[in-house]
Symmetry: C2
Subunit: 285 residues, 2 copies
């Protein structure tokens, strides 16, 4: 595995690989890797011929008062994990490489980015689109991999890539969970043992909601209320940003009577962590 | 010369060319080609190995009440001209190819796009960035060529490409003029003979302004007033959108005392045509 810090070198490696007839798989991350990231990496390695993983904590996707400074980092461990998986290129650019000069160009996907997390983190998805557009222009992947936990992010990036005719396929893979159901997230490190227990309520609430739908409940507001009740019943959950039943394509609120498939998505604050999770409910269980 | 309508085929041809070690030169146009376009094409052919020219009248860069429907078109003549120059690919996509689905992704460069033409055509440069980003993702050029007449457009696109780390160099080439000094533009076809005569006042005003600067005038407002006077003295000039002395990089207004280089830029309405022109003034004449 080669570690690269320069955009010019990273692009050169991708172009060499493509010239040799290889398909390029790309997993953009902010590092502090967990099994969720690694499942993306393994799929990239299986499905493509040349695997690039980036580790870059992107400042423009953090809002004021958010956890940019304290976001967990452990590049040495990340490097070992990726080396063990057989990754070809670890791309670890500096801020100077990703934001040279007085960067001012904005990329955004208004309708998909307005609701859900976008309503609580108004500049977040603009920062995500901006950095991922840059990374795509450097790495020039054929396929890029994202996790379903960040469903809205993945939907926005897929739409961005389609709309701008970017030559990349966006592949969204299932959320990886701990044995007890907690969705893996680098931010879980913020949780103490009691908070971690409380954080399970997100998954439990979503499972409750999914169960209601499977048993025929067709009122979005009753489903949202039931999910919210499970989560808020836990005193260590400080606040729930949203519980929402939306259509999985446009991410717009669903109306009564529900038509499947739907996505039930939640965001809540537990301790210092803002956690998100979601469940996709089709008609076939 | 091969004419291509599908984005997938256009990308395939570029990738084949790159695989064969060729550098790709790209000239995006809205067609109705004149010597200005052809000078870009000739430079592309001289400087690169594979020349792609697109002809596409992009609806999103026209505002309400602008001339989208009446914009001049003559694809048969354009094809003959490009064939004669030795262009490799003429890319003529349909709206369906460039805007598939419910396209919603926006790309914009706020500071550079706010002033000059952006103040009078508030959605114009967003439409330009959007279509050029798409075209770049399809054609994947090494160098793209733009004319200096559309100075603000070229500056915005260069900034977009730099900021988003697009692997393309933006090359801005001098304005091509008729013998009498009128900057070539597809929209000159809107002018009747008397209006065409009146349109010369833009170039004359700019030359007057440049002359003042060369003789030591260092007040932007006096220069702007002098340029405006030349233009407005012509009764067939219906209105002047702006006369502005700006710094050529940031396109922000210059203050007294002037420091070179500067750009003097104008936009004015003559008959049915909205015309623009500019002059770049360095210290060395």
């Amino acid at each position: 595995m080669e570690q690269i810090c320069l955009t010019s070198t990273a692009r050169q490696r991708s172009r060499e690989a493509r010239r040799n007839g290889k398909r390029i798989g790309f997993v953009p991350t902010m590092g502090y890797l967990h099994e969720g990231h690694l499942s993306l990496v393994r799929t990239a390695i299986r499905q493509t011929d040349f695997c690039v993983v980036s580790v870059y904590v992107n400042p423009t996707q953090f809002g004021q008062g958010e956890d940019l400074a304290s976001y967990p980092r452990d590049l040495e461990k990340d490097r070992c994990l990726l080396e063990a998986e057989g990754v070809d290129i670890l791309f670890t650019p500096t801020d100077d490489q990703m934001y040279p000069g007085m960067d001012q160009t904005r990329v955004f996907v208004p309708k998909l980015a307005n609701g859900l997390c976008g309503a609580f983190r108004p500049t977040h998805f603009e920062g995500v689109c901006r950095i991922v557009a840059k990374l795509f222009h450097v790495v020039e992947p054929d396929v890029a991999y994202f996790g379903q936990k960040d469903y809205q992010q993945a939907a926005i990036l897929r739409k961005m890539a389609q709309d701008l005719l970017m030559p990349v396929e966006i592949c969204i893979l299932p959320t990886i969970r701990d044995n007890d159901g907690l969705a893996m997230s680098s931010r879980n490190i913020y949780l103490d043992p009691l908070e971690r227990q409380a954080a399970l309520s997100l998954h439990q609430g979503l499972q409750q909601g999914k169960g209601l739908v499977m048993r025929g409940e067709n009122s979005p507001s009753r489903i949202e209320a039931a999910v919210r009740e499970v989560i808020e019943s836990n005193p260590l959950v400080q606040s729930v940003d949203y519980v929402a039943v939306v259509d999985p394509d446009g991410l717009q609120p669903c109306f009564f009577p529900l038509r499947l498939p739907i996505l039930i998505a939640v965001a809540a604050h537990v301790g210092k962590a803002r956690l998100i999770d979601n469940v996709y409910v089709t008609g076939d269980g």
